[in-house]
Amino acid sequence: MRKLALRTVALGYLALILLGPLSVVFWRAFDKGVGPAWTAVTTPDAVHAFKLTLEITAIAVPANTIFGVLCALLIVRRPFPGKGVLNALVDLPLALSPVVVGFALFLLYGRTGWFGSWLSRHGIQVLFAMPSMILATAFVSIPFVVREVVPVLREIGTDQEQAAETLGASQWQVFRRVTFPAIRWAVAYGVVLTTARSLGEYGAVSVVSGRLAGQTETATLYVSDRYENFDIVGAYAASVVLALMAIVVLVTMNLLRPKEGVH
């Protein structure tokens, strides 16, 4: 009886908070049928926006993955002075408001910023162009691979690696044959989290993008642009695409979720 009550409360809460918004996205997108929704997401601007989002993600995720693995190895295997600061810096993007991130980039690369004059003298455009959007996206998605790999590295310990080395394996062989297989699901999970965060980034990117239609509009910015131009179907149709990407990410996350014993 009590179980049923708890279950009802939990599912009721979830229905209110989760399912409502999700169903609205689909309902509003296909309000006028599949045709208009399809047209809306295949306009040149829409296609470019999705392409841009994917391009930014395709750069930010591998970079953060490589960084994540190396950083995790560093944190666990080689204590050094200032490790606490490194730890804090890596975790900070989780808690920081995206608007603050965008603003900080403004201060660095804006015309009157730290690198502003150097950049304009060399004709390099960072702000209001792809580089700053990549930097913003990389910033907000930096922690995930590190945080997933660190506990796993700690748990597996160095015994096997040491054993391999005494048997004559090179550093690279140790990593490839011993370390990496042990952490690969953690890395995969971290990559999925990083990808999810990068695809959905809005706040930081909206500050640094300049909203040049067909150029610096990502998919999320495109959604808000359509909404602002009374194109409800367009906004929700693009949202459906993003929601579908989210669902793919969700499924992958749950398939890869570390089982008991590893975490």
């Binding site: 391009e55 702000l127 580089p131 909203r211 040049l212 239609a213 150029q215 602002e228 009374f230």
Partner: protein, 339 residues
Amino acid sequence: MPRFTRPLTLLATALFVAIPTITASAAGKGANLTLVAYSTPQASYAQIIPAFEATPAGSGVTFSTSYGASGTQTSAVIAGLKADVVNLSLQPDMTRLVNAGIVSGSWSSHAQSKYGGMVTNSIVVFVVRPGNPKHIKTWNDLLKKGVDVITPNPFTSGGARWNVMAAYGAWRKAGATKNQAIAKLTKLFRNVSVQDTSARNALQTFLSGKGDVLLSYENEAYAAKKLGQPIAYLSPKNTILIQNPVAVTTHTAYPAQASAFVKFLYTPAAQTLFAKNGYRPVMPSVFKKFASVFPVKKLNIFKITDRLLGGWKKVQPQFFNPKNGIMAKIEAQVGGVTG
């Protein structure tokens, strides 16, 4: 030295070197002009730009466009958003660009000198629900209890600043003293339930069902109505003339084409397109053709340069200084008591 970290490090570095290469845009054959404008003329330029590209002066010219709240766009351009032509909601934003060295001080005296650098006009109107159920006709009606007013935030939106000055100016014109008018303005903002960042967003909010009356540009209301949105709009008897400036930037890579585009905005063709989207044309000859759409006779349209107001140079710091302007004080008062 661990041998495998080197390839990884080099790979990562390569990625970062690749970024400029990937993002370097292919240089177009002709000029590519970037137009940075405030939120409302988006639909107008969607028609005007192709019309310009069809003229000899515009052949081979392509455009990139960015629209947003006037204050927002101004800040972006100052922070480095590359623009060739800027069209903002009001003069003080253009002055900010002049102060930052992005627009020349003599911007108003070029091809458009006859019109003081203003490319479009409009007026502040009341947007209401069809049938005007709450019978909102005058500025004083906005002060009534239970009337829900929508206007954007004056510190990001140019449109909001026009709204504030229209209200203030109207009350002054009707005989109120400065303090009385400010008191009324305070009362007005107590009735404001939402302050979006831009005029366009405020319209969105109203259309989503919120509020009894929206203070807006006439052309926004006209365009929305034309698109079939369920609204009505009317002009209060006393209202302000909205004038929107346009200029070519100093750092444009295509000065000839940029100037040609601005010149095109002052041709009957472009002005007619603005008019079809609800703007009042600055050229009298075109305005005459649309007289039935734009009421003039029964209205008392005053300008920001009116003696009672004193022009933007006086009004901008007096009302909109974020620290001690009149609006800053009003926002504090309105929020503090009920918040």
